[in-house]
Amino acid sequence: MQTFTAQPIPWPDSAAALRQKVRDLIASYPINPDPAKRANCWAVADPAFSKLLGDAGLIGMTWSREYGGHERSSLERYVVLEELLASGAPVGAHWIADRQTGGMLLNYGQEEEKRRWVPGMARGEVFACIGLSEPNSGSDLASVKTTAQKKGDRWVIDGQKVWTTGAHFSHVMIALVRTTPGSQRNEGLSQFVIPMDAPGVTIRPIIDLTGGHDFNEVFFDSVELEEHALVGTEGNGWRQVTAELSLERSGPERYLSSTALFLELLRHVGPTTDSNVRQLVGKLAAEMWTLRMMSATVAAKLASGEDPALEATIVKDLGNSFEQAMPALVQAAVDLDLAGEAPLARVLGHLLQVSPSFSLRGGTREILKGIIARGLGLR
């Protein structure tokens, strides 16, 4: 049995130059004085930074030039992503558009929609959100109730999405809705492109336990869309979403969310004689190295046209467990005043509070382990 076939990773020749480009660009950008903003940085939105990346050709790197992309390889894109995340850059505004929405539109979208949205995404000016979860449809995604009904040459959307990250600054959503009335489970579902400023769309904030605003509720009240808003084939939504979730789960953001904490820990302790701390650093470094190799292996498999859905799920589960465990381990090893101003305390305090979400977003730990068990032939 080999659930994860390891293989040498064909890092691109351009990797070192690309890293330098990203490092120079980040060094030129004013650093947010709050070190907590460098943790979990793919949830930190800064449209000005996204624009800077777009201008530098670092968004939509693999997309066709015809739609504003740069036709670089997916491993080149991977190198850029890990650099951005490791440095704690505020990439949240464009993250979803770059990771999945742009590619979804190019793969499945109709021509009008591709031309309308994708070039702006590549410029770092157009941001996207994901319309999957609903009030009674969390892990049980196939139970979505929001509907699209064909009325003449229009689609009319009614219903509600929830936990929609970044809906309040996004320009567009791709939503999974039911197009066949009365259809069951994953049958009769389709995806639509919905402009967030369309009449009938209402966005309400959900404030998280830190007082932060990432999530929203999004209501659709007879939202009228043109025919070409349908993404892909009517009724094929579930298959498309499964592929989309593979992309959503496979990236390096699934283990790098706590990197800022690790780096602040190194800054805080310096060359240390405390063997507890040294051993913790050694263990975390070994885990991070392993996860980087696993994550890059998945990227290499994707690049060579394989579908490493199981491997990606394994990496996400391990990565989430790692980035989630780190705050408590650092707290146990280093005596810190969490009310104090030490940068390590600031980052730690933030991550202790937000890290429970790491094993929820993009598929809960329990759902992921179920997928892995299926891969083992147990269900």
Partner: protein, 324 residues
């Protein structure tokens, strides 16, 4: 895998499955020599295969998968160091050497010689990053058994022929154990998955219980991490510098042993605890290998010391510079 590696994999799979976890050196070594497997890493100039560390990974991992009882891995590593210095016959490796080298001879003690009975020479860690190749005397001194039943000897040597080389056999031993752990974990996972698909309780297979599914999913993640770590360490060795990667891989594999062996035994229930059932040849070796060539705290301390000394600003650039 290239074509040659696929052949190597097929050949070793078949041989190791046949030799299995109970073979003896007398029985196994002639079969190994027939294929010249012990010369896998010996340079072609000295009559070997000139294999890469990726090739070694295939053999070491497969040996782990079949819980191979013959000291082939040790023989391959010893030959890779000793052959070019004129040491012939079955070589092996050891945990540590203590003593002095003068005029091409060694006087002192070698500890933890692996399967030393009948071996011609041993390669042992000496100073930091250095190794000593020493001819073994006919009579081994004190023998002990590991928890998986394999011999480890302490050998006292007076004026034995010796060569000191700038090769880190301790690190190479750690890589070998990481690769074996990766293979043995995959094997234990496979028999665990098979078992829960057959065994029924409460009118359904154990595999139908969500708690069992989630346990084995956790096991699969750990086995995957061990395999990826061992593979990445082989890549680093082939690039010419694997000091960090080998330590990180051994540490990650050690960690995987804990969860993997615990879950394998838990889902097997009492049958996995018996002598007749085929789980213990894997799990007992996994527990033994976890201590050899650096336990968790050895590598965690060593890596942690280096990473702390390099500081926050160098960590990520160092990590990426190794692969770019």
């Amino acid at each position: 895998m290239n074509e040659q590696q696929t052949m190597l994999s097929d050949m070793t799979q078949a041989l190791f499955a046949e030799l299995g976890h109970q073979t003896s050196i007398a029985q196994a070594w002639p079969r190994i020599e027939e294929l010249s497997l012990q010369d896998l890493l010996v340079h072609d100039d000295h009559g070997g295969f000139g294999g890469s560390w990726q090739d070694a990974l295939i053999v070491f991992r497969t040996a782990g998968y079949h819980a191979l009882a013959a000291p082939l891995i040790e023989g391959i590593l010893a030959a890779s160091v000793g052959t070019s210095h004129g040491f012939t016959g079955r070589g092996t490796i050891a945990r540590a050497a203590e003593g002095s080298v003068t005029g091409g001879t060694f006087t002192g003690t070698i500890d933890g010689v692996i399967a030393g009975e009948g071996a011609s020479f041993v390669v042992a860690p000496f100073a930091e990053g250095q190794s000593l190749i020493v001819t073994l005397p006919e009579q081994a001194s004190r023998q002990a058994k590991t928890i998986s039943g394999e011999t480890r000897s302490q050998v006292t040597i007076k004026d034995g022929r010796a060569v000191q080389v700038a090769i880190d056999i301790f690190g190479l031993g750690a890589f070998a154990r990481a690769a074996q752990i990766a293979g043995a974990l995959d094997a234990a996972l496979a028999i665990s998955a098979d078992y829960v698909n057959q065994r029924k309780q409460f009118g359904r297979t154990l595999a139908a219980f969500q708690a069992v599914q989630q346990s084995l999913a956790t096991f699969a993640c750990e086995a995957a991490a061990a395999n990826c770590a061992a593979s990445a360490a082989a890549e680093a060795l082939d690039r010419g510098d694997g000091a960090f990667e080998v330590g990180a891989a051994k540490l990650r594999c050690n960690i995987a042993v804990g969860a993997g062996t615990a879950i394998a035994h838990q889902v097997h229930g009492a049958i996995g605890f018996t002598e007749e059932y085929g789980l213990h040849p894997l799990t007992r070796r996994l527990w033994a290998w976890r201590s050899e060539f650096g336990n968790d705290s050895y590598w965690a301390d060593k890596i942690g010391d280096q990473v702390c000394a390099r500081g926050a600003d160098n960590f990520w650039p160092d990590l990426t510079a190794h692969t770019d």
